[in-house]
Each structure stands twice: as C-alpha cells, then as structure tokens.
Symmetry: C2
Subunit: 370 residues, 2 copies
C-alpha cells in the first residue's frame, strides 16, 4: 500500500540530538509510548520510521518520517497521525504530507481542478470572482447584486462567507433567487457565470444544504473548512458533482516560527489534497498581513506537480482591488482567480464597476470565452 | 434575543487609534465592507457594535464587540462571526465569546457536566483515566488492557486517540470487546468504570460510529474536535445520551503573542460552551511546553461561573505520571480528572501499576465510591 511520508521542521533543544528528537516524534505520533512500553513487533508495524534528518539552517532540522498507510483510515486520522500531538509539542512544524496512491480514497484531490472549472464556465485566462453581500440584506437584494455582477462579466459569484441560513436571507430562498438571477444574466450576456452558495453549516444540516444546492441547479459551492471541519472538503469533493471552492475563515494564527502548519501546506497543498478545486488565498498588500513570498509559496502548493493530483485554482482575495487585479492577473496568471469585493461595492454601480474590472483584467492578460 | 458579546485583544499600529481599529473589526466580521459600501440601515441590524475599548497594557487594548444573535445560526457561523476573518488579520486575539440564553440551542453547554459524570461512575474525588493503547494491537489485546486498567481501579478508560477503524482493531469489534472487558471487571470490583470509544471519524461515518457505540452500551465517548470539527462536540452533546470527553489533538499552535485564540478560551471555555463534559487539558511538567499559569487559566475557563452553564471536568494529561498525579489531584481537585498513560505502561504489570496509582491519589485526596 505504500507509506505516508510526512516532512517536519524540528528544533531540538541544546543537549538533545536531531535523530533522537525525530525518533521520539515518530513514537509520539503512533504508539505514544516510550521505547520498552509496547511490544517490539509494533516497531515495524505501527511506529513511524525516520527516513531522514537533515540540517535546515539555524537550529532547525528537516525530518522526514514515514507511516504505514494502514494507520490512516480517513482525513481526521491522517491529520492526527501527521500532526495530532505534534501540534502541541512546540518546536515542530508540519511542512508536507505525501500519501501513496492507495490512499486516494481518503484524500481524493480535486475532482474538477482548473481544467474542469474552465470547461464549466467556458473561460480562458484569469477567472474573476466576487461575492453577494453584505449579511443583513434579504434574498432579493442579494440576488439583485448577483445579477449586476454577472451582467458585469464576473465568472463566479459566491455567497459572502457569513451567509448561512439566517432569517434575513434563508438558505433555500437565497440560493434559489441567486441562481435564477445569474441564469437570467447569462441568457442576456451569453456567458456561463455560476453562483456558489456557502454550504458551511452545522454538521447535521450540511448534507441537506448540499442536496438543496444541487436540486437548485448549482454547479459549484463554497465552504470554510477551518470552520466546518477539514474533512468536509474531502466529502464534498467525493460525493458531490459540484466544484468545491474553499474560504480561509478561522484558519489564521496556525503557524509561528517554531510550531504549527506551514502556510504553504495549510492554505495550499492540504486543501488541494482534500479536493478543493479552487482555494481562496489571502493576497498581499490588502487588509491581511501576508507577504508576497508567503502568497507565492501557497500558490506553489496548489500548482506544483504532485503525483498526478490535478492543480487547484489559486483565488487571490482579501483586499484585491481594481488597481491590483490586472497586475496580479499578469503576475500569477493565467491559471488564477481574482476575488474582488469591497472595491466594487465602493463604486456604487456594481454592474459598471464589475465591467470596468473585467475590461482592465482582460486588457492586461486576455481571457476570452471559449 | 440578546446579543453575542465577543472580547478581543487588539494591537493597533502606530498612527491608528484603538477605537477606529475596533470599528473596522466590527465591520470586517459582519458586512465586510467599508463604511459607505452598504445600506445605512445595516449599521444597526448587522454591523457589530463596539461596546468598549480599554487599555490592556503595553500596546494592547481590550475591545468588546457585540453582534446581533440573529447573525449566528450554528457553531460554524458563530465562530466565523466572532473570529473568521479576524483570525487572519494579525494583531487580534480572541479572548472570549458570551452568548445570550436564546442561543443555547446552538451552544448547549455540557449535558452531564461534572455532577452527571460522577453520578454515572459513582465516584467522589479526583477521577482517574487511562487509555487502551497502542495503535497496532488487535481488539483482544486492547480489551485485555482495558480489563487490567478497570480491575486496577481506573474510572474512565478511553481509546487511544489514534484508534479509529483500522484493520488492526476495527471499531465495532474493538468497542464490543473493550466494553465487555470493562463490564466484567466491574462485576469483579463492584465499581462502575466506563470505556470511552474514540468517535473521531470522517463526517459521513461519524453518525454510524456514535450509533454503534450507543448500541454496544457505551455511556461516554471521546472525540478530537480540532480534527473532527468543533461543531462535532455540539452535535454529540445535543443528540447523544453519552458523556462527551474531548482530546486536544491537532489543536496546537493556535495562539501567539499577537494573534490566535487564547488558550483559556480555545482549550477551555469554548469546548465547555460547545458541550464537552470532560476536557483533556495538557498539563505542565510533561512532554508539552505549557506553563502552570496556562494550565490554571484553561481550568478556570472550564469551571468559572458562566450564566448557569455547568462546569466541564478538566482532565490533566500529556505526561501525568504516578509521581505527579497525587500532587495535581491535591492541587486541582477534587473536581479534576487525571489521565495517566505511558507511566503505567512502563511498569509492565498494568493492573498493579493502576492500583498503585489509584492508592496514591486516594491517599492524598480521598475519593470514595458513592
């Protein structure tokens, strides 16, 4: 079945050795008992194997530990195996998880990927996204905004990620009206824009929301995995026939210089492995304190060759405006999404603002309907 | 319906004012649009209200922002409202969430609490826990360990948190055998020890695991909410008739000096609000780098008076041994659980080791069967 290969950065205390640290880590993540506290035969069957320990610079070392594939029978246990107790240890950062082909059933990767998404919306070049917002408007008002954005040429129009099933705009009514608004706009423009409902929900109603979205004709959905649970992405990718886009809400503050999950993996490769077709990535220069370098590494995690797993579409958000969008489209494109919200709304006439944005981006980078 | 009150620590940049920062935060978490970008009526209905901003020391300020209860219709959206985008902002830490009585349906608090748990197991004084481990043993071997621990006087014997449904010890067989082993031991000893299966699972099989545990006679379960999703705890508390104990796996690296969720809330009050009857808390002096002060604040979050919400049982783990256990029982008891694993296994004869531990703790603190 092959083995699961996990890469860590470790920082042994003075007096400890990197090899001893890595061996303790391999036990902590599996038998969780010191040597001698478990039957010897488990050393081969269950304990992680330290594959390599190499100096990474400063007081940090890179350790690669492999685990038997049979130890992980689902996303929660895969993440537990890789980083459950380790997340609490300090001095350990998770860099990457590589799974053997035999585990594709539990981490399926994107079902549509960039190519499948493009076929759905019939669009080359950068993909433009915006959100129907804000929370507090009723379903009709939100649908009117969807219509304006679709007529203005936005490809993917998503629920704002705070829209759930509040009385101000209940899920069923909102999704029905927004899907309808975008379809009417498509008939006018000839485009194939899509509306993406937010299916982030309590676990006992998630299934019903997804089913309802499907019945209403949705071909794509958005979910916040750090709120709904990471396995939600896998489940949506595996059981749905809809494009899955993720939002990073509640995902912050998970990595520091000496512990946590590296942004490249947490906001990039991990979501791709789980099955996200599109991943909203916080861009630099906006409202959030991320660097260009961090953005690039996250995008790399979504795109780099990875055992045949399709690439996910990086969708830059978090303060992308009409000035930055064309530049970023050129820098990161053509396989990139640009999520523009507040700066369109600030211009008053949403349809005209969307049209200006679309023209500016297409002028810079192309991207015709295909 | 009342309002949701969220307390943050904020750290405005030089040149910014704490009040302006707090107002931006209140919009970021709700309308997510700058002033002027949304209808004025939403200021009252949807935007968070800055209730107070007070100096906290250094460059930090404490801000209390209230949100209309109607904005949150479930755990994911409550957490999103309180800290979704804010988690990505940097310079903001989440300290606490207070919910009005009208939201008890979405954050129910513990169903059993410490009192209900004591009635189930018939035990005064500190509650002793251990784990059936390690991963890789078969169901019979794990059940034999359960029997030894129960005969030795351990009150709650849980699955190791890495045990899921692996072929080495499939869930159904393992739980059936372990429940049976503990019940047999109870008939010998006259005690009412319980076996707690780990129900952490992919979202589409979680329900079946819980149902199976119930059918097999389990009265308590353990779950890792940072792996399975935080709303899992709420769902288990609300729909189950079993005591819910949480494990902190994958929950680390979530707070730094300038962002994240304060440990007191994340590992304490939050899990209590969601409905955890018992919360495994990483103790100091063990394998994990937490301070006594941090442990005390987490315990405080589980116990302090909180609008009538029952207290959750703090369960100290992560390196509690036979030397520390009696001292901690005295320091933190009597309403405390002590989870002792590795140091019992290291002694070879598990039943005798458990008996010595129980005697040492009872000698220090009492705790008779009632």
């Amino acid at each position: 079945m092959g083995r699961i290969e996990v890469t860590y950065w470790i920082r042994p205390e003075p007096g400890d050795t990197p090899d001893a640290f890595a061996r303790r880590l391999a036990r902590e993540q599996t038998v969780e008992l010191p040597e001698g506290g478990y039957p010897v035969r488990l050393d081969a069957a269950s304990v992680g194997v330290v594959e390599s320990v190499t100096k990474a610079g400063g007081s940090e070392w890179q350790a690669v530990i492999s685990y038997a594939a049979a130890l992980a029978d689902g996303v929660p246990q895969l993440l537990n195996l890789a980083f459950g107790n380790a997340s609490l240890l300090g001095a350990v950062r998770l860099r990457d998880i590589r799974v053997p082909a035999g585990l594709r059933t539990i981490v399926p990767g994107p079902r549509f990927g960039v190519g499948g998404l493009r076929r759905l919306i019939g669009r080359d070049g950068p993909i433009l996204l915006s959100a129907a917002k804000p929370i507090g408007l009723d379903a009709q008002e939100l649908a009117a905004r969807c219509a304006a954005l679709a007529r203005g040429g936005i490809d993917l129009i998503k629920d704002d990620h705070g829209l759930s099933d509040q009385r101000s705009a209940p899920f069923d009514e909102r999704v029905a009206r927004c899907v309808d608004a975008v379809e009417r706009a498509n008939r006018e423009t000839g485009a194939r824009s899509l509306f993406l409902p937010n299916v982030t929900a309590p676990i006992d109603v998630l299934g019903a929301r997804v089913e309802r979205a499907r019945e209403l004709g949705c071909r794509a959905i958005v979910v916040s995995p750090f709120l709904a649970g990471l396995d939600t992405v896998r489940w949506l990718a595996q059981t749905g026939d809809m494009v899955v886009v993720t939002h990073p809400a509640f995902g912050g503050a998970t990595s520091t210089t000496d512990q946590g999950v590296e942004p490249r993996f947490r906001f990039g490769a991990l979501l791709r492995l789980l099955g996200a077709d599109g991943v909203i990535v916080i861009g630099a220069e906006g409202r959030f304190p991320v660097t260009q370098l961090e953005v690039r590494t996250v995008i790399e995690g979504l795109r780099e060759p990875r055992d045949g797993t399709p690439a996910s579409l990086p969708i830059l958000g978090g303060g992308v405006d009409v000035v930055r969008a064309p530049r970023w489209a050129a820098d990161y494109g053509p396989d990139v999404g640009l999520l523009v919200g507040g700066s369109l709304y600030a211009q008053g006439d949403l349809e005209a603002a969307a049209r200006r944005l679309v023209s500016a981006v297409r002028a810079e980078t192309g991207g015709e309907r295909v």
